[in-house]
Subunit: 206 residues, 2 copies
């Protein structure tokens, strides 16, 4: 830290991009994207609104850059799981564990992604939609593979099971508080078990 | 319909309250509460903004009245389930089935409740918070009762199971489209089965 503190100007310039993104995450999270303004974000960074336009053209560009970072990390997690070549149900367990851990550790950013991605427009909306579909299809693909492999009952309606599981995962920010309760690692492991339980469960009784 | 059409003025006055609420639901759902204005709602109803103030004092009052209707219906569903005096896991299955059906049939309104209740302030926020807690505690109470009755494994972490299930239920508007797919009744039955499967499932493997 001593070296960095000795060159505060260079450090500040170097980190400004990340600082602007972090401020945007905080502001969007607190006020919602629709109500937030570039002025709010400038206030949060502690610069004039005019200076902020050196870094971004619009509120939407900021939202997209926040998403872009999440997209890249989500792809990386999928790649890691696929490379392990596990049986589908184990792959799903591992992926959910990784994913929940990542979600808990980056909650504001990931949660913004799920609540606000529809605010994008044009090419950015198309790209976000593609990424969302990739995520949904990765989970539903593993569930279908697990069904084909006989790891879960084949009477289970895989489509609704997928929606159910994705909803449970997306609901994390509704209850998670960073300052209390179990560690992210413990919660991630419990959630992975719950997903497997849902899928292995007794299946439709009708 | 003929009688009603013969007295259009009386009918219009009589229905205006419901009409204003329905318009507010549509506008809040489409634009989000933060971005919506009283002007948008007046446009949706087809009246001048000034006339709308005969019915409501503020955007927040409208949001609260939308919630109030949901609160009353949710209490009624809980009452119906409790009165049947079923074993806890069956009560939970029945409640989830009723609840999902209600959610699908009133999706915009119920979904607004989950996404926007924090926008209320003062006494209204306190009341919405109380209602939310009642809902959460009803579900978590049934899960705990099922655990005590030995209907689900007692090693299951009931707290996270509750969050997981509530998240899955709250995620319904992310994927449900009224114009395609299975009937609300079918989906409600599948979701009730999935909840029971999650809870009966093998439990933590650690």
């Amino acid at each position: 830290m001593a070296e960095l503190d000795a060159t505060p100007r260079v450090r500040r310039r170097y980190n400004r991009d990340a600082e602007v993104l972090a401020a945007a995450i905080n502001v969007f999270w607190r006020k919602g994207f629709a109500a937030a303004t570039i002025q709010d974000i400038a206030d949060e960074v502690g610069v004039l609104k005019g200076s902020l336009y050196h870094y971004v053209q619009s509120k939407e560009e900021l939202l997209f850059r926040i998403f872009d970072e999440s997209h890249r990390q989500a792809s990386e997690m999928r790649r890691e799981v696929v490379e392990m070549e596990l049986p589908p149900i184990e792959a799903l367990h591992l992926y959910v564990e990784k994913y929940v851990l990542w979600y808990l550790q980056n909650m504001e950013r990931v949660s913004l992604y799920f609540s606000e991605w529809k605010r994008l427009s044009g090419d950015r909306l198309a790209e976000a939609r593609r990424h969302r579909r990739t995520y949904d299809e990765f989970v539903s693909g593993l569930i279908l593979d697990a069904e084909k492999a006989g790891e879960i009952p084949s009477r289970m309606d895989a489509k609704y099971a997928t929606y159910f599981v994705l909803g449970a995962l997306n609901g994390i920010p509704d209850w998670y508080r960073r300052d209390r309760g179990d560690t992210p690692e413990t919660i991630a492991a419990v959630y992975a078990d719950l997903v497997v339980a849902t899928l292995k469960g007794s299946g439709p009784t009708r």
